[in-house]
Symmetry: C2
Subunit: 201 residues, 2 copies
DNA sequence: GACAAGAACGAACGGTCGTTCTATAAAGCG
DNA sequence: CGCTTTATAGAACGACCGTTCGTTCTTGTC
């Protein structure tokens, strides 16, 4: 890895955790230059524009997510166990990597959801990819017979996302220590409702 | 209402819908002055500081929420019907009032959750108040026998919040037309699980 | 070690930011 | 009406923004 790639990565490392606190939109070249002890112009040259830097941070975030959340779960047997592992990893991946201010992409989703442009598209694609991954995990759990064949996959993923959002808000805004437990309770209820055959009332 | 109050309200009206698009943190005196056709300093004098303006927007948002979401639901009989009415109102209150860019407070929650200060506290209190309202609605539904006595109220509210967050993201980022339907499906499942007596497996 | 390519710097630009000050205009009141 | 209070305007401030430019220093290559 040449010198250029090396410092570029160092910048991204810093930008990654900085963006966690101030948001991708709140990143500033000046602040970033200060933290990396570089000149503004020197840093700037690595990206060509602020937007390109922001996109790079989002892509960096996606890569780390795949490494930290999705990949380790492959050690679990496919089906419900693997799905559950992803959820558990997902719930505290902001603690695993250096994200003192929460998931960058998730914050960016709220930030750019009504501002058309490349950033919004990047966020959209990242979250779409996650949903597809989750959808496939659910599909495998159906195939293995752990979930009912008529399980509504999209609905399942929709609710998984809700659980995640609620957990993050509880943790970050209210310092709720029970957030993880609540999340798993909700997850188990979701699984149960799509696994059992219910007794009709 | 004197002239001062009048223009102050006009400013807040504009700030309210502007904040919906750019976030409470993204508000700027200059832009707001332009939109209201006032001078920056003239507008500024009504609040004394930007932070005070932002707080005013958050309070304005709370008031409108109570008027548009909570109050109309009082027409429903107490219990599950009223809870459901609140949820329905909640889900599309950003359409009812002028919020082209989504709920201001909800966006602010993600924006300020890791930036200590009065804004964070205001957001926190607003969301806390909402949770208390929801909690009471759930408690009434327990009293009326529509939900089981052992219903975990906090968990119930936790999941309600999740449903809301997921709905907003689906609508705003993915233009998902089915978001509302999904939300109500999730809500009904939540109610069902806390109402029926399940057959033990 | 010479030389070209790439990396980093420092200064400067035009803009916007929130805020302050002073002066003028309007509103409210007797 | 006149007088006081209040509201608004305008110009200016220092700070920071993203970006550009020319220069200098550091790499990597023959």
């Amino acid at each position: 890895m040449g010198k250029g790639e090396q410092t570029r990565q160092a910048i991204l490392d810093e930008a990654f955790s900085l963006a966690s606190c101030v948001g991708v939109g709140g990143l500033s070249i000046g602040m970033l230059a200060e933290r990396t002890r570089m000149s503004k112009s020197g840093l700037f040259a690595h990206f060509g524009s602020k937007e390109e830097l922001q996109l790079a941070v989002l892509r960096e975030s996606q890569m780390r997510f795949a490494e930290v959340v999705l990949r380790p779960a492959l050690r679990q047997p496919r089906g419900l166990a693997r799905l559950r592992a992803v959820i558990v990893n997902w719930l505290d991946w902001t603690r695993a990597v250096n994200l003192p201010g929460g998931c960058v992409i998730n914050a960016a989703a709220a930030e750019f959801d009504d501002q058309p442009g490349p950033l919004r598209e990047e966020v959209k694609n990242a979250l779409l990819a996650l949903r597809r991954s989750l959808g496939e995990l659910v599909a495998r759990a159906i195939e293995s017979g752990e979930l009912r064949p008529d399980t509504d996959i999209e609905q399942f993923v929709f609710e998984l996302n809700g659980i995640y959002q609620a957990t993050q808000q509880n943790r970050r805004l209210f310092n709720d220590q029970d957030a993880d437990r609540r999340a798993l309770l909700a997850f188990d209820r979701l699984v149960r409702d799509n696994a059992e055959i219910h007794a009709k009332e």
